[in-house]
């Protein structure tokens, strides 16, 4: 596979801090300023959500953000356009941070498989994470993505058996994404008693069976959690907490300022 910003990033010897952001949340026009704010305050990789009307893996925060994004006119094509502008520095500083698109398969199917890959690469997207496209359903998808030089990241969950961790690790092009707890996004489950031991044991199991790097997300909300995940894995993903933090913003500028404040508090 050709090199891209993600393949270069994972070669570095550093723990990753990854942001998940839903475009145009909470106000139209917020995307480019937020991308700039996240880059400037030290996000190593940005996952950009592709909103879908029926996100079965998401809790209320990302569901709400997806519905807002859709009502603000966000769709696959408009996300490509935003990424293209970000890469060219139109409307914000030039964004050089790796960008991973994360979203459900239906909008991608509706856009059209091969066009999707081609247009994503042209826009400056580096990789894809499609939560409802597990290994069993994605052989063709993975081959096509690799052909276009796009990274593909697969999910591992606490109930994934060891031999399947090995399969997922072998399919993920650069790193795998471990779902921290058996839950939808943004639940408070990580705070439950006895969770620290459970998650340590789980990530130790992943380390034993994965050759590539892996990061952890779902329910990571503050610096304490980020540091904990850095001890146990190669990176932490923060999504719902970021969206919650900027949810009350009324202008793009305010959204960007709030995103920057929050992101600095994590580093």
């Amino acid at each position: 596979m050709k090199e891209n910003r993600i393949t270069r990033l994972v070669k570095q010897d550093k723990k990753l801090l990854i942001a998940y952001y839903m475009p145009e949340f909470p106000v139209p026009g917020a995307t480019l300023p937020v991308l700039e704010a996240l880059q400037e305050s030290g996000a190593d990789l940005i996952e950009l959500g592709m909103p879908y009307s029926d996100p079965i893996g998401d809790g209320p925060v990302i569901q709400d953000a997806a519905h807002k994004a859709i009502s603000h006119g966000v769709h696959v094509g408009s996300i490509f356009e935003m990424v293209r502008k970000a890469r060219n520095g139109e409307g914000c500083k030039k964004i050089t941070t790796p960008i991973l698109l994360m979203g459900y398969s239906n909008p991608l199917i509706a856009y059209g498989g091969d066009c999707f890959m081609d247009d994503a690469v042209r826009a400056g997207v580096d990789g894809l994470l499609i939560p409802d496209l597990p290994p069993e359903e994605s052989e063709d998808f993975l081959e096509r993505a690799k052909h276009f030089g796009l990274s593909v990241i697969y999910l591992i969950s606490p109930v994934t058996p060891p031999e399947r961790i090995e399969l997922i690790d072998s399919m993920s092009t650069d790193f795998s994404y471990c779902i921290a707890v058996n839950a939808t996004t943004g639940t408070g489950k990580l705070d439950a008693a006895g969770m620290d031991e459970k998650i340590a044991e789980y990530l130790k199991r992943v380390r034993q069976h994965a050759k590539k790097k892996f990061v952890v997300g779902f329910g990571i909300k503050d610096r304490e959690r980020v540091l904990k995940m850095w001890e146990l894995s190669d990176g932490a993903v923060v999504g719902s907490a970021l969206l919650q933090h900027v949810a009350t913003a009324t202008t793009p500028e305010e959204t960007a300022a709030m995103a920057a404040d929050f992101w600095k508090s994590l580093r």
Binding site: D54, I56, N106, A110, L155, S157, V159, N182
Partner: protein, 400 residues
């Protein structure tokens, strides 16, 4: 003798041609795999079969009759219309056939907490019923809009000891209730059994629900041979998610060269207005873990379906129906809200049977076809449920 059709689906990955499959987040992969493994074992276990058969017979009241609707047939002046009386099942619809099968599976797997989604409330009532029967905790997700439309069923579920959780997301109907039930399953994967009510969702649900509902067609085929002395010319069933239809059609699929199989979708206010006709007007997509034909906009956002009957109000449709349509083994058509109401009224007046608004869609098609066919022809209609739950809507619409 007419050639029999060989049909075998899904494949081992749950694919019906390009449809079906397991488009699910990793957290659900193990749940789905465990369920499939247990179901395949149970299916071939004589003890499991016998327990289920006994309950279907003595608790549900199977076999349900196949009834020759003489006055309705006479009114149309053509083919004989026969009704497969699933409305006479305990709880008033075919949904109990599947709920019973799945609750026995839940017991086998040692799961104590049962969740379900419901649209019209028939599946919710069926699930609440079998949970009461086996003393299991029951949580039913139901859209706020459906709770409003189907108040009597909400009360029934509560009376049966179930907790009804209102879903306020999206269109507040079956689609959103299903998403919420799937999320619950993700959040509680170990102790929870999810009883899906239709032939939708990720593998193995479309296959398993079909197998539990196939009793409808198995009985109907035997009954029509016994009572009329031959196979019917046409078999009709309504299609929302499609469980009563697949249950009716499955055993007739080998006969598909001589028996015309017709699925009737909800055309709502008309195919150019708000409707729920996914097979007629939908595009290929993924919803609730399965590839299917789906009502969606150009950007792949799922659109709200509309039908006067809450049970047909689903923007997708079972993957096997998409496959059967593609193979040409079943033809799909649609009936509007108005036409369904008129058929419901006619059936009540000629036969003394108040059917569900869902089933009325199939009745309408059968009446229309009967009028065009010679007297010796036979049409079998799956009368999937009774209409008590719809009395509110019926009173409003027919100004009673």
């Amino acid at each position: 003798m007419t050639q029999k059709v060989t049909y075998s689906a899904p494949d081992e990955f749950g694919h019906f041609g390009i449809f079906g499959g397991k488009f699910i987040p990793e957290t659900l992969v193990k749940n789905a795999a465990d369920l499939e493994e247990e179901y395949l074992k149970a299916k071939d276990d004589p003890e499991f079969r016998q327990t289920l058969d006994n309950l279907l017979r003595h608790y549900v009241g199977r076999p349900t009759p196949l009834y020759h609707a003489l006055r309705l047939s006479e009114k149309q002046g053509g083919a004989e219309i026969w009704l497969k009386r699933e409305d006479l099942c305990h709880t008033g619809a075919h949904k109990i056939n599947n709920a019973l099968g799945q609750v026995l599976l839940a017991k086998r797997m040692g799961k104590k907490r049962i969740i379900a989604e419901t649209g019209a409330g028939q599946h919710g009532v069926a699930t609440a019923t079998v949970c009461a029967l086996f003393g299991l905790d029951c949580i039913v997700y139901m859209g706020e809009e459906d709770i409003r439309r189907q108040a009597p069923n909400v009360a029934r579920m509560k009376l049966l000891g179930a907790q009804v959780r209102p879903v306020s997301a999206g269109s507040r109907t079956l689609k959103d209730a299903t998403s919420e039930a799937i999320r619950d399953w993700m959040n509680n994967p170990e102790e929870t059994f999810y009883i899906v009510g239709s032939v939708i969702g990720m593998h193995p649900y479309p296959m398993m629900v079909r197998d539990f509902q196939a009793v409808i067609g198995r009985e109907a085929r035997q009954q029509v041979l016994e009572q009329a002395g031959r196979l019917p010319d046409v078999v009709v069933a309504c299609v929302g998610g499609g469980s009563n239809a697949i249950g009716m059609f499955y055993e007739f699929l080998p006969d598909a060269k001589e028996v015309e199989l017709i699925g009737v979708e909800a055309a709502g206010e008309g195919l150019d207005a708000r409707h729920a006709a996914s097979l007629t007007k939908g595009e290929i997509g993924v919803l609730h873990g399965s590839m299917m034909k789906l009502l969606q906009d150009e950007h792949g956002q799922v659109q709200e379906a509309h039908s006067i009957s809450a049970g047909l109000d689903y923007p997708g449709v079972g993957p096997e129906h998409c496959y059967l349509q593609k193979l040409g083994l079943v033809s799909y058509t649609s009936t509007t809200d108005r036409e369904a109401l008129a058929a419901l009224d006619a059936l009540a007046k000629t036969e003394g049977i108040i059917c569900a608004l869902e089933s009325a869609h199939a009745v309408h098609y059968a009446m229309k076809r009967a009028a065009e066919m010679p007297k010796e022809s036979i049409i079998v209609v799956n009368l999937s449920g009774r209409g008590d739950k719809d009395m509110g809507t019926i009173m409003e619409e027919l100004k009673l």
